[in-house]
Symmetry: C2
Subunit: 393 residues, 2 copies
Amino acid sequence: MYGTDGCLVKCSSFPCATPKNDSKDTSTTINLDHGDPTMYESYWRKMGNKCDITFNGDDSLSYFANGKSLCWFLESKLEKQIKRLHNVVGNAIVDDHYTIVGTGSSQLMQAALYALSPIDQLEPISVVSATPFYSEYPEMIDFVRSGLHKWAGDARTYEKNGVYIEFITSPNNPDGIIREPVVNGDQGKLIYDLAYYWPQYTAITSSANHDVMLFTISKCTGHAGSRIGWALVKDKEVARKMTKFMEISTIGVSKEAQLRAAKILELISDGCLDPNMENFFEYSQSLMTDRWKRLRQVVMANDLFVLQNYPLQYCLFTKDSFESHPAFAWLICKGGEEEDCEKLLKEHNIQTRCGRRFGSDSRSVRISMLSRDEDFNIFLQRLMAIQGPTNGN
Amino acid sequence: MYGTDGCLVKCSSFPCATPKNDSKDTSTTINLDHGDPTMYESYWRKMGNKCDITFNGDDSLSYFANGKSLCWFLESKLEKQIKRLHNVVGNAIVDDHYTIVGTGSSQLMQAALYALSPIDQLEPISVVSATPFYSEYPEMIDFVRSGLHKWAGDARTYEKNGVYIEFITSPNNPDGIIREPVVNGDQGKLIYDLAYYWPQYTAITSSANHDVMLFTISKCTGHAGSRIGWALVKDKEVARKMTKFMEISTIGVSKEAQLRAAKILELISDGCLDPNMENFFEYSQSLMTDRWKRLRQVVMANDLFVLQNYPLQYCLFTKDSFESHPAFAWLICKGGEEEDCEKLLKEHNIQTRCGRRFGSDSRSVRISMLSRDEDFNIFLQRLMAIQGPTNGN
C-alpha cells in the first residue's frame, strides 16, 4: 500500500487551518456526514478584527428593516452587499431580480415551493430533482404533508404532463456536477439552487440568469451558524409570495445575522478588489485544491474506491482553468451492488452519508470536504488504512 | 369635549422615550396595526454599552451549537439565561422542561403543531382557539394546506369528539385577558402562548407549568428584530419532534441572534437582582401604566369607545397589586353592529387591526400600545379629536 508513512496526509505544503492534533482518540468517529463548513475558520481568524461587528442594546428592535425593498424585513446593507458580491464574482445577474433574504436557503426552498405551487389545482404539484439529489428534498417537501406540493422523485424518470417544479442544484449536492434541467416538459417551474456556484468549488463560466436562484452564506463564506440565505427572483409576484411565506413562518429573518452577513460579504468583495488584501476565494480555492489532490492520491493508492472526475473549465473570475473541487466528495466503492460504503467507512470511524439518501445506492457515499484540517487529516489517514477485500455484508 | 388643550396627551409625568415631534405631518398615518415593540428602545438606549456584543469574523461558523441540549442548535448561554430569567421572574417552571429555540415564537407554534399532530390519522387534526384569537393563527395553520392539521375556528363552539389542539394565548392577544382552556374535551393537546406573561403587562400570579409553553424575546425585551423565541416542553418526544421541525425548516436558528439574546436576558436578570441597576420590568411597567392611564382618560372623555377592563391582581414578582396593561388595546366602538371601528380610525390616520381578523366583529380593533412615544402621543391626540356621531358605513 502506497504512502503508509502518512506522507500523503501530513506532508501537504498547504498551511494547516487548525493546529494539528493527530493524537486524537482513534475510537472517536470523524463526522463528515454534514457539510459543516468549519474549514473556513482559518481564513476568518487571519482576518482578525477586520469584520468585527458590535450590536448595542437598542439596535434592531423593530420587526421592520430600514430598506425600501419588496422584502420588508431585508436590511438594505445586506441587499447592497449581496448585489455587489455577485457583480464582483460574476456568478449571477442581480440587476433585474428581487432579493429575498431567508433563514438559510432551506427556508427559501420552501418559500419558492409555496410561491410556485398553483393554488387552483386539486392535486399537489409534483416536485422533482435528478438523482443523485440533495438528500433533504424529499423530507423538506413532504414533512407537513402539504396539499400544495409533493415529492415525485427522480427528474429523469418523470413523465407526467402538466405543471411541475424541478430543483436544479448546480454544482450538484452530492456529486459536484454542473447541471441543467432534465425534465422534458414545457410547463416546468425551475428552482436553481446555486449554493456551491462560487470560485472555491467550481469555475465561474457564466453569470447565472434564472427566474429563481438560491444562495447561502453557509457555503459561500462558511458562516453556517448565521442561517442567512438569499433568493434572486425575476417575477415580482413570485418574490411577493416568497416574502409572504417568510412573514407567516418566521416574521422575517434575524437582523443581527443579516447585518453581520453584510459585513462579511463586504470584506470578501473588498478582498477581491484590493491587491493588498488576502482574497478569500483564492485562499479557499487553494485549500480545496490541496484537499482534493490529497484525497485523490489516497483513493488511487488503495484501489477500493472511485471518485467523480470533473472537466477542466475556464473560470471568468480567476482567469484560469481548473477542475471543480466540490464541497463534498462523492465516493463510490468498486465492489458489487451489495457493497455498503457508508457501513465500511463507519467501521473505520468515518461517518458519511449513504448514497441511498440521495436516491442513489449504497455503493456511494457523500463525504464533507469542509471540516477542520485536523479532522480532514484523520479522515485521510483512516481512509488510507482501509484494506480490501471490503466487507459488503 | 374634555382635554382639548391636549393636556392628557402632553402632560404626562412620565419621561418621553423618544424626543417629541408633535409637528409630524398630520396626513401621515400612525401605524398601530403591528405590535412593533419600539417603545423599549428608550430603556436600551439608557443602558448604553452595558449589553454590547461583538462578533469576530471567525465566530459561530458551525451549524452546531456548543451545548449538550436535545435541541442541538441551542446555544448553552441562551439556555442558561432563559432558565435564569424565568426563575428570577417566577413566571414559568423550567426545571423539568426541555428548551427549544426558534426563529421567533411563530416558528415554534408551527413546530408544536407538527410535533402534536398525530401521524396515524387520515384526517388532519383540528386546531382551535377561543375568539377573539391571535389573528395569524388561521393563516399560519393552513397556509401550506397541511394534511397534519387544520384551523377549526373558535374553541368555544368546537364540539367534535376525539383529539384536537387548542391554542391558549394568555394574556390574550388581542384583548389582554388571562385565559384557560375552553374546549370541554379529554383528548386536547394544549399549546400555551405566554408571549405576554411578563410583569410589564400583567401580574405574575403563579409559575406556569404546562406541557408546551411558548415565549418570545420580542414582547419580553422588545428585540423583535432578533427573531428569537423559545419553547419550554415537558415531553421528550414532543421536544425532539419540535427540534426536528426546526432542523427541516431552517436548520436551526441564527447564532448571532441567540448569543445577543443571551446577553440581553442576562442584563435583565442582573437588573432585577441588583438594586443599583435600573430594573427593566419596573421601567417598562411604569411606561405601560402611564400609557394605559392616558388612553383610558381619552377614551372616557370622548364617549365613543369602550376599553376592556382588567381585575386588580397581586403580582408575586413586584409584590404589588395592579391591573393589567396589555401590549394591545382592544377598543370597541359603542355604536351598533354596523359600526366599522378600523375604518373610523383610519379616517383619522390611525392604522389599527379590525376585530374581524380575530374572529370578532368590526366594532372592535386591536391597537398596539408598544410604539415609540412620539407615535403614541399623536395617536392619543387623534383619538381625542374624533367626534360623534361616527360614520358606520
